[in-house]
């Protein structure tokens, strides 16, 4: 009631103080209510009236009951809450992981140590069944440890999924209530005053929501708010509510993702959520848990891969090759389960893709996304950890098509692949679960190596051969190498025979009485005393071409009256070397040899081509040597028989009492051919010592031959006078006779050409007189036919070394290591794996990688501790700031009570005075 009179004014005062008291009481009652903003009454003086003598006041009225809130501070508080919850949740989960990995009963570290210790004990006592059994038990324990670690990680993952479920449910409930408050507020805001408590409730709901996800809030003019994620995706927009949902991850099975329900279906927004518990869970899972799964899987993969490879190359107690020790990292099942097909891929659903692990040391541990691009036939593979595109190739459409990257090989095996197809590759995640220890019998542990190199008892020199290594059991194309193809034997057993002090052949020793050359041959190899000499080639793709041209040796040579050359024709050799396999670029080199070039000269020229090396040697044989007329009567110097090799006379001479030059006394008569040839061989060895030429006699099919070998491939020039001899070259059937009429001939050499992987040759003319005719493909000899020429693979998959000073005639055998129960070489290789860098491209061992994982988890947990405590401090400050503005101070309210009580009393007193005045006025009339 307005009015200029005292009564009316006092009543307004009473009203005000009643409102104020009520407000103070409301504040006191709600002092501990969460989210309550204290309210205060705003009083306004009533408009004044003009009463002639001046303006007179008309009392007071409540202009509004104000909510003491600062919207900026409320927003700040909400953001700080979201941040702190995210970090606290992250810390809680990270600590779980941290404790798990370092727990000695659960972590991998001491289980691996015990396994290595068992291996060492086994290598000390290879025949002990008890020690072998220990290896099997510890191996099984190690695998159990991997499996149980995987289980614990899965448990953490499941509990995260459950927390996501719960969080999403709560968030949805909050969204609903916020929407309800929105409506209520917009209805009540039609008046000038604000429904304070509704605002409080809505702010509280928004605060609770921000504990779950980080949000942005926009005020609308009608008092409603729009709520969206920090990324901008709308949750509440002009009255429409988009709820959350939990869906299965299209990428990683077993993971759940958070999605928003839009009008076109659920839209996965996991990677866009920051802040709040849900943000913390997702950030932990993607940043630490998934990585832990993959790293542990990577360790398991490398363990199984490297141990299996070595174990399968060894021999067990039964003399058989070892079986796999751990599960197969490229089993039919494993290579398929690593590829996940996106649920959005269109039918037909007959796609078949596999992912094999070809080199565990190159694994990165990351997952990969594969996409076949729309609008082109290209597909790309992106590494998830750093976002880099590792492959971008054309999809040929012809299966199988494969591509290699990061130690993996992905193959499109069959089915229909279409544009827009998406795939997710998980190379390592499943391995720690799939790991198993596959050996049961202690006799099945392969501790021995399959071959043993030994020197023959009759050796005169002091060369030593190493025991021998197996490098590979399969060739580049995946077929078995023939050396160990049959169980229990080596095919063929080999012997290394020194043909002189620094040249050796490696021969097939299947019949020790009759060793023959290998296919392809290893012959005329140079030996260097004073260092370790490798016997075999180690390049899996290396090829050899044995030159078998018609012109070689005695092919085109003739006996002639004058000095002649080896009559080799000139030829052009064109070498092609592939420089980039994926594109198919190559380089070409052309070499032209001159007519008459010796094998040594040809070898030198061809070896100058990169990727080519040539080994040349020359053999000449003489038999049926006879003198024309010696001793003649009378003797004349002109009748002296002579045999010259490379221009040097081989028959010793002396001067007799008449002054005639005659043969020396120690020169035997050629009537005893063997004796005579032995003499010549001795002379050649003496005269040509150090030049790589040596001679010996040999008997074949009843004929004795004098064999001269030039191990460098130089031509052998022969000249005879007053005598005759039959010349052959020891390989072909060609012979010729040199005699007084045609005393000269020159025998040329032969050569073997070795090509690096990717190098081939063509000749002009074709067929080549030097290399020979095209040989048709013979799969028995593991040949390859490239452009019509037949090449043989040199790689045998083994290696041995010889050092020391062997002598001519010394031999070293390479045989199957039968009954070798005490051989511990293979298990020593397994023991050495502990310290070997088998991961990270040869920079880290298994223990190193595990240690790095634990350290990484520790660092991130440690820094998240700091973050959580920092954000807690910031949150506390925000809370304090908000409370200082909006919080109820009981003392203050108590003071207010007193104040307004006094005000009430004063106004009541004023009413009493007004009544008094009235009474006095009434009573005076």
């Amino acid at each position: 009631m307005s009015g200029g009179d005292l009564l009316g004014i006092s009543i307004t005062g009473l009203n005000l103080s009643q409102s104020a008291l009520r407000t103070a009481g409301h504040n006191i009652a709600n002092a501990n209510t969460e989210g309550y903003t204290r309210q205060s009454v705003l009083a306004e003086a009533n408009p004044e009236q003009f009463l002639g003598s001046g303006f007179v006041g008309t009392g007071v009225s409540v202009s509004s009951i104000e909510r003491q809130a600062n919207q900026f501070v409320i927003n700040q508080l909400r953001d700080d809450t979201a941040l702190h919850h995210e970090q606290q949740t992250f810390l809680d989960s990270a600590s779980q992981l941290d404790n798990l990995l370092s727990n000695p009963a659960l972590g991998l570290s001491d289980a691996m140590q015990r396994f290595y210790a068992a291996l060492q004990t086994g290598s000390d006592n290879p025949t002990s069944i008890a020690a072998r059994q220990m290896v099997i038990s510890e191996g099984q324990s190690l695998v159990d440890r991997f499996n149980s670690l995987n289980e614990r990680l899965s448990d953490i993952n499941s509990s995260l999924n459950q927390q996501l479920d719960g969080g999403v449910r709560d968030a949805n409930a909050l969204l609903e209530s916020i929407a309800t408050y929105n409506v209520a507020i917009s209805r009540s805001s039609s008046t000038n005053s604000l429904p304070n408590d509704l605002y409080d409730k809505r702010d509280q709901a928004l605060l609770e929501l921000s504990k779950l996800v980080g949000i942005r809030v926009n005020q609308l003019s009608d008092g409603q708010v729009n709520v969206s994620l920090t990324s901008g995706d709308a949750l509440i927009l002009s009255g429409t509510v988009n709820k959350f949902d939990v869906v299965n991850s299209p990428d990683i099975p077993g993971n759940k993702e958070v999605a928003i329900m839009t009008n076109i279906g659920p839209k996965v927004i996991s990677n866009k959520i920051t802040g709040g518990d849900i943000g913390g869970i997702l950030s932990f899972r993607g940043g630490m848990l998934d990585k832990a799964f993959n790293e542990i899987g990577r360790i398991a993969t490398s363990l199984a891969g490297s141990f299996n490879a070595i174990h399968e190359q060894g021999l067990d107690l039964n003399g058989d090759f070892g079986n796999r020790m751990f599960s197969d990292i490229n089993s039919e099942d494993a290579i398929r389960t690593r590829v996940l097909y996106s649920p959005e891929n269109k039918p037909p659903f007959n796609r078949d893709m596999t992912l094999e692990i070809v080199d565990p040391s190159q694994l990165t541990g990351s997952d990969y996304r594969v996409e076949i691009e729309e609008g082109s036939q290209r597909f790309s593979i992106v590494r998830v950890s750093d976002g880099e595109t590792v492959v971008s190739n054309l999809l040929t459409g012809r299966t199988p098509q494969n591509v290699e990257f990061d130690g993996l090989k992905m193959t499109f095996n069959g089915g229909v692949f279409q544009q827009g197809d998406k795939f997710y590759l998980q190379p390592t995640r499943g391995m720690s679960d799939a790991l198993s220890f596959d050996l049961i019998d202690p006799e099945e542990l392969a501790f021995a190596k399959p071959l043993i190199g030994q020197s023959e008892l009759g050796n005169l020199g002091n060369g030593e051969i190493s025991f021998g290594e197996v490098l590979d059991l399969t060739s580049v194309s995946g077929t078995d190498l023939p050396l160990f193809a049959m169980p229990g034997q080596i095919d063929p057993p080999m012997v290394i025979r020194f043909t002189s002090d620094n040249r050796f052949d490696v021969l097939d020793n299947s019949d020790p009485n009759n060793p023959k050359h290998l296919e392809p041959p290893i012959r005329n190899q140079l030996y260097v005393a004073g260092q370790n000499n490798d016997i075999f080639g180690t390049s899996p793709g290396e090829l050899m071409l044995v030159a078998e041209g018609e012109s070689l040796g005695l092919g085109s040579a003739e006996a002639s009256a004058t000095k002649t050359d080896n009559q080799y024709p000139a030829e052009r050799f064109i070498f092609t070397r592939i420089t980039d396999n994926s594109i198919g670029t190559s380089e070409q080199y052309s070499v032209v040899t001159q007519g008459g070039d010796s094998a040594a000269e040809i070898a030198a020229q061809l070896s100058s081509v990169p990727g080519v090396s040539v080994n040349a040697w020359t053999q000449a044989r003489l038999n049926t040597i006879s003198f024309d007329n010696y001793p003649a009567d009378p003797m004349a110097t002109a009748d002296l028989p002579d045999l010259k090799l490379n221009g040097i006379s081989l028959l010793e001479t002396t001067v007799d009492e008449n002054g005639t030059v005659v043969l020396a006394n120690n020169v035997p008569s050629p009537d005893d051919q063997l004796d005579f040839q032995r003499y010549i061989a001795g002379r050649i060895d003496e005269l040509f010592a150090g030049q790589g030429i040596n001679a010996s006699t040999l008997t074949e099919s009843g004929t004795t031959f004098l064999k001269v070998v030039d191990s460098k491939g130089n031509d052998i020039e022969l000249e005879i006078s007053n005598a005759q001899a039959v010349v052959s070259d020891g390989v072909s059937a060609n012979t010729l006779t040199i005699n007084d009429t045609s005393p000269h001939t020159t025998v040329g050499g032969r050569f073997d050409i070795t090509f690096d992987d990717g190098v081939t040759v063509k000749t002009i003319p074709t067929p080549s007189n030097l290399l020979g005719d095209v040989i048709s493909f013979d799969p028995e000899k593991f040949n390859q036919t490239i452009d019509g020429s037949s090449y043989q693979l040199t790689y045998r998959g083994i290696q041995a070394q010889i050092k020391g000073t062997p002598q001519e005639g010394d031999g070293f055998t390479i045989t199957f290591n039968r009954d070798a129960a005490s051989d511990n070489r293979n298990i020593m290789s397994l023991v050495n794996l502990e310290m070997n860098a088998t991961l990270n491209r040869g920079k880290a061992s298994l223990s190193d990688v595990y240690g790095l994982l634990v350290e990484d988890v520790g660092i991130r947990t440690g820094s998240s501790k700091i973050n959580a405590s920092a954000s807690e401090g910031v949150l506390e400050q925000s809370v304090a700031l908000r409370n200082s503005i909006s919080g109820v101070n009981l003392d203050e309210e108590a003071a207010n009570l007193i104040k307004y009580e006094q005000m009430y009393s004063a106004n009541a007193q004023a009413i009493a005075v007004a009544r008094d005045i009235f009474e006095r006025l009434i009573n005076s009339v």
Partner: protein, 412 residues
């Protein structure tokens, strides 16, 4: 801030008390476990190093075990070689006795032969010794196969191989712990060029060869170092059909003698080497006589025994014995040199084990020290810290009580 709400008065006290409690709990845990680093997040870099040190200590432990076992093996081998050296000494004495050709009679030679044969058996036993696991010491890699078999008449055969087992004694070193029988007993230089014979493994029929002896050293020396091969021809090659053999030089194929009649057990001499063969060979079977500049110790003793058993009481017989005695003394010397060489190698290896063991002791000490520095708790610091934290908590609690008891309502 000018205002403070009532809630905050409680909140501040509450949260600071909670924080103190958490800190105290952590310190308690450290004190009761004795470790400073409880989880990797406490000190990630240190925990990585701790793991590495733990691994290193566990490896050192294993290496020490390996060294112990290697030492046992080497000591056992040493004992066996000692025994062999004793035998060589004794046989040397007997050989010198046998050199008294003027005095000794056939009977005395027989007695000497018996004793030497006894020693030979001892030698065989030593060479076929087994270790604690039941494996043969001198078989190389073929640990379950007896290395030596044979006797004085038929010669000896080695069934083992050249393998040498190694154990890992430190991160980057391995040590050979075995010596193959071939290395110890067969690889002894012989006084003269000598031979050994064997029937080829690929023979279809059955033929064996006695121990070939060099009876004409000069002839044989001229032929040395070639080997020769006795090859059995087809029965129908000659008329009337009978088994014949042809001897050729192995490396060249040059014929030495052709189509000799084969008579079982007949002593034949080829290139100064005397041998006999028994059995029924098939066509194409071969017997090889290889030259060698080495003679095994068993054969040396066997030659002495055979010579003394078969001694003839005449001038040439005595000359033969004298020669055999000279050769035997020479070979025994070489064998002793070999055995001493093996002993010194065993000794050197044991020394190296000792050095490695000492290195491991040092390494272990340093590692444990480093581990303690990183992982173990400094009790003095922790107790002081606990005292301070307790004091802070008490102060917080006391002030909480004081501050919260102040309220205006109490005074209304």
């Amino acid at each position: 801030m000018v205002r403070i709400s009532s809630i905050d008065i409680f909140n501040i006290a509450n949260s600071s008390m909670q924080k103190s409690n958490t800190e105290i709990a952590k310190t308690q845990q450290q004190l009761s476990s004795g470790q400073r680093v409880l989880t990797p997040s406490d000190d990630p870099v240190a925990s990585l190093k701790i793991m590495e040190l733990d691994n290193e200590l566990s490896r050192i432990d294993q290496y020490n075990k390996n060294i112990d076992s290697a030492e046992n093996t080497l000591q056992q081998t040493e004992g066996l070689i000692d025994g062999v050296i004793d035998i060589i000494q004794r046989v040397r004495e007997l050989t010198i006795q046998a050199g008294n050709t003027g005095v000794n009679t056939s009977a005395q030679y027989d007695a000497l032969a018996n004793e030497v044969e006894g020693r030979l058996e001892e030698l065989l036993n030593i060479s076929n010794s087994r270790d604690a696991n039941g494996d043969f010491v001198f078989s190389g890699f073929k640990g379950e196969i007896q290395p030596f078999s044979g006797n004085a008449e038929d010669g000896f055969e080695y069934h083992g191989d050249d393998g040498q087992r190694r154990v890992k004694t430190a991160n980057n070193s391995t040590l050979a712990v075995s010596n193959s029988g071939r290395d110890v007993f067969l690889d002894i230089p012989s006084a003269n060029n000598t031979v050994f014979g064997y029937a080829s493994e690929s023979n279809q029929g059955e033929v064996s060869i006695s121990v070939p002896q060099v009876v004409d050293q000069t002839s044989y020396d001229a032929f040395y170092p070639e080997d020769f091969v006795i090859r059995f021809n087809a029965v129908g090659d000659v008329s009337p059909p009978r088994m014949t053999y042809t001897v050729t030089e192995r490396s060249t194929g040059n014929v030495i003698v052709e189509q000799q009649n084969y008579n079982q057990g007949e002593k034949i001499t080829i290139q100064g080497v005397s041998l006999n063969m028994i059995g029924n060979p098939a066509t194409g079977d071969t017997v090889v006589v290889e030259s060698s500049n080495k003679q095994d110790l068993m054969t040396t003793l066997a030659n002495l025994v055979n010579a003394m058993r078969g001694v003839k009481d005449n001038q040439s017989g005595k000359q033969e014995i004298t020669k055999v005695v000279a050769d035997t003394l020479n070979n025994l010397n070489n064998a002793q040199v070999k055995m001493l060489g093996v002993m010194s190698s065993l000794g050197a290896r044991q020394n190296s084990l000792q050095t490695t063991r000492e290195l491991h002791i040092d390494s272990e000490l340093y590692s444990r020290q480093a581990l303690a520095d990183l992982r173990d708790l400094d009790y003095a610091e922790a107790s002081t810290r606990l005292a301070m934290q307790t004091m802070i908590l008490e102060a917080a609690q006391a002030s909480f009580v004081r501050v919260t008891s102040l309220s205006l309502f109490d005074r209304l």
